[in-house]
């Protein structure tokens, strides 16, 4: 799984640390870190929470163009 740089950029633009985002979406800092590193595949439920917390759409954060 590729690194999710878009999620990291969106988080930094909202001036949130990994811990602050984790608290907002009821996850742990480790989980947010692993999602950004592309080492954990979150459920749709968590994706939606993250997208709402970062004011982005699912497409903007998680859609991979050209991915099979």
């Amino acid at each position: 799984m590729a690194t999710n740089i878009r999620m990291k950029v969106a988080r930094v633009e909202k001036s949130l640390s990994q811990q602050e985002l984790a608290d907002r979406v009821e996850a742990t800092r480790q989980t947010i870190g692993l999602i950004e590193k592309g080492e954990y595949n979150p459920t749709l439920k968590l994706c939606l929470r993250i997208a709402r917390a970062l004011d982005r759409t699912l497409d903007q954060l998680f859609w991979e163009e050209g991915a099979k």
């Binding site: 811990q19 742990t28 968590l46």
Partner: protein
């Protein structure tokens, strides 16, 4: 706001389930080995390990039934050849195990054992098919509601 206590989210819950599943399978496998070792190697009488054997049998039978029921495995997905394959495996393994346990019996006694194992396996597979059918019906009903 950070909650006090253990921080459990979907990833930690998923890892917990994965570890529990693997440890359960390892425990079951080790207990099976233990029963086989006691029965075939040490030649202990069944009464000395009947408790372990019963726990194992009930546990595995219920676990497979629960997976079929709650998983709602659709009946059409069961190909007759797959069912027949598992049935033959059950009958051959069960009969072989029983004969190995008591090899001194006559051919007639071995045939009797084969009949008992074949009937028990047929009942078990029918119960599994029933569990899968009921599970599918339950899920279909939930989807209709």
């Amino acid at each position: 706001m950070k909650k006090p206590g253990l921080q459990v989210d979907e990833r930690s819950a998923s890892i917990f389930r994965k570890v529990c599943t693997r440890m359960y399978l390892a425990t079951i496998a080790l207990l099976w080995l233990d029963v086989i070792y006691r029965q075939l190697w040490l030649r202990q009488p069944v009464t000395e390990f009947i408790d372990i054997a019963l726990v194992l049998i009930v546990n595995v039978v219920v676990a497979i039934g629960a997976i079929l029921y709650f998983g709602g495995v659709a009946i059409p997905r069961f190909r007759a050849s797959i069912v027949a394959f598992f049935y033959v495996i059950c009958v051959v393994a069960g009969t072989a195990f029983w004969i190995l346990k008591d090899p001194s019996g006559s051919t007639g006694a071995a045939f009797g054992k084969l009949l008992i194992v074949a009937s028990a396996s047929a009942i078990l597979i029918l119960l599994y098919l029933l569990a899968a059918y009921l599970g599918t019906k339950r899920l279909d009903k939930d989807l209709d509601d």
